[in-house]
Amino acid sequence: MDDSGFSTMLARLSEKSRDEYYNPYTKFTWPDTVPEDQWWMNPDYLTVSGTVLIDDEKTLKALARYETVNFFSLHVHGIRELMIEVAKRIHTPDFAEYNEYLHHFIGEENAHMWFFAEFCHRYTGGIYPEAASPLRREGFGNLWDDVIVFSRILIFEEIFDYYNSRMGKDQLIPDILREIHAAHHHDESRHVAFGKQLVKRLYDRALAADPDRREEIEKYVKDYMTYSVRSLYNPQIFRDCGVGNPLAVRREALSHPVREAFHVKLMTRVDRFFVAAGIFSTSWGTEHVSA
């Protein structure tokens, strides 16, 4: 499974990772406090944006703080899973040609995990726990599991990059938050480029070996996209900002037509990739949008 185009891309991404390497532990100047009367997240990106479910500015600003913690917590938990899965595969025969870049990948993700958690621990009560399912994740056989793992990583990275790329230059939010979003966006553009090429190659390999599971995989990946959208609406953020009947507010926000249109927009890039790569026969946006 090697071709010169992919090898060239890997070499280029590795070189960029070396050239742009930074020490995450000294990169940021952490302020003593982050003012709570400032917007920690632009209100346009809140889960209730466009719904009028919450219209009081004080509550919305509190929600922006808790959504920031949720957003960073999702990063921390997602990165942990990502690192476990990549660590299982690095220096194994099937992933030998990716070793060099996977070292950069793990190193950069480790840095991201640290600064997201560091923010939450310095300025809030820490990260939210993972909303883990008590059921073991479905297995699809080794080759398809590789596709699932890296598809999950790609979806996760694309969702967060949507926000990071925008909030990384948003003057409304505190400097430290803008700097964290910008740093993550800078590294993730390389990871997404790598992830798309890798998922396509892993998919072609699995499909050739076991074509009967194609529809099952498409359904799982689409369900994972829906699951990821829902994870942004952590019920705890609504409880913590003090709204009455938090589960009902969450449910109404999730199914609000304005939010559903936003979910499609949020997923557009990765949805298009899955369709173009032949992994989806129809787009997620046309059938799974009702999160």
Binding site: S133, P134, L135, R137, T226, R230, P235, L247, A248, R250
Partner: protein, 96 residues
């Protein structure tokens, strides 16, 4: 099909919230309307690990109590019969 009709194969009366539960599960897999109430929902591919988190939130909304998996057996949610018992008897009585 209502929960009461669907539960005709069981001797237990269906809790009023079972219609909401069945509506949620139907969105995941329409076969829930025809499966036996003692059939494992995970083995029947109605519920999976991705949908389970959302399903527990639905149960929380219906009962008004958070579902603490440290003290509540996950098996309480694996069949329609057990879910009905959980809703009827409450978490305090439905531990495995």
């Amino acid at each position: 099909m209502s929960a009461r009709e669907n539960s005709s194969t069981t001797s237990t009366m269906a809790h009023p919230s079972m219609d909401t539960v069945l509506g949620f599960l139907r969105e995941l897999n329409a076969s829930v309307d025809t499966i036996a109430w003692d059939r494992d929902l995970i083995e029947a591919r109605v519920l999976d690990s991705l949908a389970f988190v959302e399903f527990l939130l639905l149960i929380e909304e219906l009962t008004g109590e958070p579902v603490d998996l440290a003290t509540t057996d996950v098996n309480n949610f694996r069949t329609l019969e057990r879910i009905n018992a959980f809703l009827t008897e409450g978490a305090g009585h439905a531990h495995a």
